[in-house]
Symmetry: C2
Subunit: 340 residues, 2 copies
Amino acid sequence: MRATIYDVARRAQVSIATVSRVVSGRARVTEETRARVLEAVKELNYHPNPVAQGLALQSTRTLALIIEGFDNIYPAKIVAGAETEARVHDYHLLVQQVADLDGDKLRRLSGRVDGIIISGAATADELLQAAVEQDIHAVRLGYLIPDLHADAVVADNYKGAYEAVEHLIEHGYRRIAHISGPESSPHGKERANAYLAALQDHAIPQPEEYLVRGDYTHERGFQAMASLLELAEPPDAVFCADDLLAMGAILAVHELGYEVPDDVAIIGFDGLETGAYVTPPLTSVYQPIEQLGRVAVETLLWRISNPDKELRETVLPTELVIRRSCGCPAASRVLGGTAA
Amino acid sequence: MRATIYDVARRAQVSIATVSRVVSGRARVTEETRARVLEAVKELNYHPNPVAQGLALQSTRTLALIIEGFDNIYPAKIVAGAETEARVHDYHLLVQQVADLDGDKLRRLSGRVDGIIISGAATADELLQAAVEQDIHAVRLGYLIPDLHADAVVADNYKGAYEAVEHLIEHGYRRIAHISGPESSPHGKERANAYLAALQDHAIPQPEEYLVRGDYTHERGFQAMASLLELAEPPDAVFCADDLLAMGAILAVHELGYEVPDDVAIIGFDGLETGAYVTPPLTSVYQPIEQLGRVAVETLLWRISNPDKELRETVLPTELVIRRSCGCPAASRVLGGTAA
DNA sequence: CTGAAAGCGCTTACAG
DNA sequence: CTGAAAGCGCTTACAG
């Protein structure tokens, strides 16, 4: 049904080796035979079977992206960036949610790709560990791990968070709380550490109750903020570990009859476009999510062709996008990353 | 380096055929030799090479999902649903943004997958057409096309939109406008048609200026709403073709000093969780996006094993999620699809 | 420059 | 039940 290299060879009266040569362009061929082959290729609408090529060349020209759930904007942008970059290099992208992935399944998956990008938390570490042990090319996306032998691409979570908290301090707020990411989130931990450090560096007290654990959902942001508002001495500013938490927090403030930023100022993390369209527009630490995906692919491809070079860790800068929820009288619909 | 079937055969003192049989479980093997092979498999950490299997079996156990940009919540949920369903069937998912895809590239892509899901608009039609012509298994995701020979999975855009507009009518609004999707969006067209029909069925006038074109972004929703508010007789209710438009519209209403829903009621489409966290919470037509992705995979897999059965078109129901922007005094954080 | 042949790592009729 | 062999569709040293 589908034409093979044999069909083309027969039609062009040459051997399959010659067909392969002209199609791949990897060797000299007489102009005359070249033309004959090309003609046959066109007539038969021949395209080399990538699976057979994969077997012969020991390369699939496919990369895998493993991430914890795709049904959110962060993973969505990662996928978008990764696929875009992969396509530029004529590679394909396989996606997989961590879910029930383990070392064994990872191994099987690795048979169909040339390398793997692992993002997310918790299990991601073990996966990366497994990959490294099995000599699978892998890059970690999202945060650094000290003694794991793998390349990594991350955003500067610590600095971004630190700047956000400092911004609140400059506004004059002194009762600054933090709604964090989930236990399992390493980015969340970095952001929480930065929050703690910023307060300490400025000699601002940090009551234990001001650090409440969230989980990157509107829901938790709402609940956490509600609980903060019930404290004897509620905070006058809250730094949230991501924009979803922040948006839930804003809603809670409103529902309890308070105002943002007059009663409580709020800053989020991620710098999503959506944040510009809540009331009041959300000030947030922008991180270049798509770019993270792109650079991860770039790094992985580089690693594949340079197996023996030393580890590469890329840290992408964040940027505080000032809108209104922090108390600034800024324009309302600023988007992040436009300067880049 | 990586163990092959030959390594296992040698170690277990059997032929590769036998190894293949016990590993695949597709044929009877003596319990004794079976045990020997399994032992060798374990010792060598052997996993069959999927590329080689793909060549021998003429099946890649991989599906492709082609969609117009992944950096948004709709495609994200589609991917999530599709990957989940694929995994259930031990299939993998390759993703690709339409971008510069054409018939030729589609053909090359098709060599690495068993079937393709095509979503989105504009170019998607030509792609699907090309797929059908080249005998590639393909299912259309998102909307129906009358005379194209392909399976399809869609949400009931028309009915969902119709009910939304009727809901506004029941509230007593009579100056009902619509901010539509982009020219190229077939879903958008269906929703706009439903809007028109609902007004006509209820004998409510529909001034031409009340239908303004949007493009599924906050930005356009903001602009479109601002222009509607400048009309001599501004609308008292607006049905938006998606939630992003609706959220931008809400912001515009607020920035111009009006209130939602008191001055203008608003209903969106998609039923995103985020909509529950804007002020006021957004009433919206929920559509089961992840489910669309799952059913698309299910349909494609079914088609692959039943190449000759007649076309299958699945229409998934929508559901009006009542929050507050329509004027109802409902609970604020209702999420869609929880009843399903 | 071109072809015959081996090899990539599997699966599966066909014999025995 | 098990093995030898052909086949899946390519690529690429090796000769000529």
